[in-house]
Amino acid sequence: MSANYTFPPLLSEAFASLTRGRHISSDDGEVFYAIQNNTTAYESIFTALGFSLRTHSRGFYFFEREGLPSEAIEQFSIFVFIMIDWMADAGISITDEILTREFVVSELPHYKTDRYSSYMARCKLPTDSQLRLLLKAMRRAGFLRADNELISFRFLPPIYRIIEAGQSALKLSKEEGTPAAAPALADGDNDSDSPALLDDTFDDEVAP
């Protein structure tokens, strides 16, 4: 880089968030607007460093990386799909309310029926405390906004990435004929360079 290069504002904050897997939306305040107003500069810097900054049509940014399979992503997806399934059965408009409704954690449907409870147990979230860990991880990743005590939360636009991933994954799976299992995590993938998103020792960035 040239010694005279002027970096866009909040570059280091954006980089720190994005490399940790956070999806930056308007809920992130200044750093979101910094990227929005200097997208080309951010893209070129990150590309030079070997990162791929993606802009989603619903107005958020994230780093895309050829992924290691992540148990956390699967857990996120089950959590979200149970929410959507429950909303559909309750006659709640999903497109109207998924980003506007305040969901009370104690009233979530995930352990209220046998079917949902079995899904949660199967994805290694058999208890309410595990669910809270998941909510914290989703908050760190920018999928939802929640208070410190996790009394209630609201989904953020990046949640559509999970929904769209579900649609893409279904389509991919059908095209390939049989449900394609994600490759199992090899031992070497559990090293410190691939932290689990549910790792509670991560900096817990509380949403403003």
């Binding site: 990386r65 992924g67 559909a88 799976s173």
Partner: protein
């Protein structure tokens, strides 16, 4: 059934209607008695022979009529074809200059236009009412049930109307034909005392109907289309969720290739940067200038490693004449030097042009600096 001007109906007429045919008069009397008992009908005057609907019953029935007037566009097409048929008759009557027939047809055409207008109006009311019910969400229906209901409204009642009321649709075509026939009638019978006036009024009704039908359709579709689009999107989302959960139920962990379609960054920052300046900026350390480097501060002098002089080696070897084990000899002659210096010297001497050497036949070993060396000795034959 004959209606009195006041809107009431006689007992005889009511019984006739209720009986529906011969041999049922007793049943009709019973039915009439029940209707009176349940206050669905009442006598106009106490003890009189006339019956009427109480106001509240009338209003409820009218509301039901409007509500239940959700008819498919095929029913409208039937009315339009009736109108088209009468238009043909009018054209023929005008050509035949049959004023009497024209005067007979004009009210019928007016009634048919009225029927079409009522149909469009009540259909619009019925559609709007259905949409309001869906939006109210007080009927406990699931999203999928709501989608089916709105899709039914959209596919059966709204979309087919578009082709009918469109500028190139059947209704406009028939109304255009009617207007043409009426203009000709006005011209052909301009001296008739009533045909021109009736024809003019009917032309105005045609224009009004064309506008009203289009407005009713636009109003219906503006109610239905947004809700249809929303429920459709909701249903797609719900179906995606249900399908994914079903997959998970059957296949368990790794049920779908999420890692391929949704890679998420989870880097650690260590070891990613080749330059301190870049790392400092990206890691919030602050500005670092790499041009200036301060030398490390040292309070003692570190002696340099002794170097084995090539000339000294050759001088010693020349005095010796030949040597059967160059490596062992170097370790003995330069015992004060570090091991790596001796080995580097040995390595350089192996290919030196001033030395004529030969490997021994048998391997040997020795220990020096706590290291055991297993090797084939290199014999120095001559130093030039």
């Amino acid at each position: 059934m004959a209606r009195q001007e006041s809107g009431s109906v006689s007992t005889a007429d009511l019984l006739s209607k209720l009986s529906g045919g011969a041999g049922k008069s007793e049943l009709a009397k019973i039915a009439l008695g029940r209707l009176a008992e349940d206050l669905v009908i009442r006598r106009v005057d106490d003890g009189g022979d006339e019956w009427e609907l109480p106001d509240e019953v009338r209003n409820d029935i009218l509301w039901l009529c409007d509500r239940q007037r959700l008819a498919t566009p095929n029913a409208l097409l039937a009315h339009i074809e009736d109108l088209a048929s009468r238009v043909n008759e009018l054209e023929q009557a005008v050509v035949a200059k049959d004023a009497e027939l024209v005067l007979d047809l004009l009210p019928k055409l007016r009634d048919l236009i009225g029927d079409i207008a009522n149909f469009c109006r009540s259909n619009r009311a019925a559609i709007v009412s259905s949409v309001m019910d869906l939006k109210a969400k007080q009927d406990g229906r699931t999203l999928r049930q709501r989608y089916r209901a709105i899709a039914d409204l959209h596919d059966r009642y709204v979309e087919p109307m578009r082709d009918i009321v469109d500028d190139r649709g059947r209704l406009v075509a028939v109304l255009d034909d009617l207007q043409s026939a009426l203009y000709r009638a006005r011209l052909s019978f301009e001296l008739d005392p009533s045909i021109p006036e009736q024809a003019t009024r009917l032309i105005q009704r045609c224009v009004a109907l064309s506008r009203q039908a289009r407005a009713d359709f636009l109003a219906s579709s503006s109610e239905v289309l947004p809700l249809y689009a929303q429920y459709r999107k909701d249903t797609i989302l719900a179906e995606t969720a249900a399908a994914c959960l079903d997959f998970f139920h059957r296949e368990g962990s790794g049920y779908l290739p999420f890692g391929r379609v949704m890679p998420i960054s989870n880097f650690r920052l260590s070891g990613l940067f080749s330059g301190e300046a870049v790392q400092s900026i990206m890691c919030r350390v602050g500005k670092v200038e790499t041009e200036k480097r301060t030398a490390p501060r040292c309070d003692y002098v570190i002696a340099a490693d002794p170097v084995i002089s090539e000339d000294d080696v050759f001088a010693r070897l020349s005095v010796r004449g030949n040597e059967n084990d160059l490596l062992r000899w170097l370790f003995e002659q330069y015992a004060d030097c570090p091991e790596n210096t001796i080995l580097e010297t040995f390595s350089a001497l192996q290919i030196h042009p001033r030395l004529s050497m030969q490997y021994a036949d048998t391997p040997d070993s020795f220990v020096s600096h706590h290291v055991r060396y297993d090797y084939t000795p290199l014999r120095v034959l001559h130093v030039s």
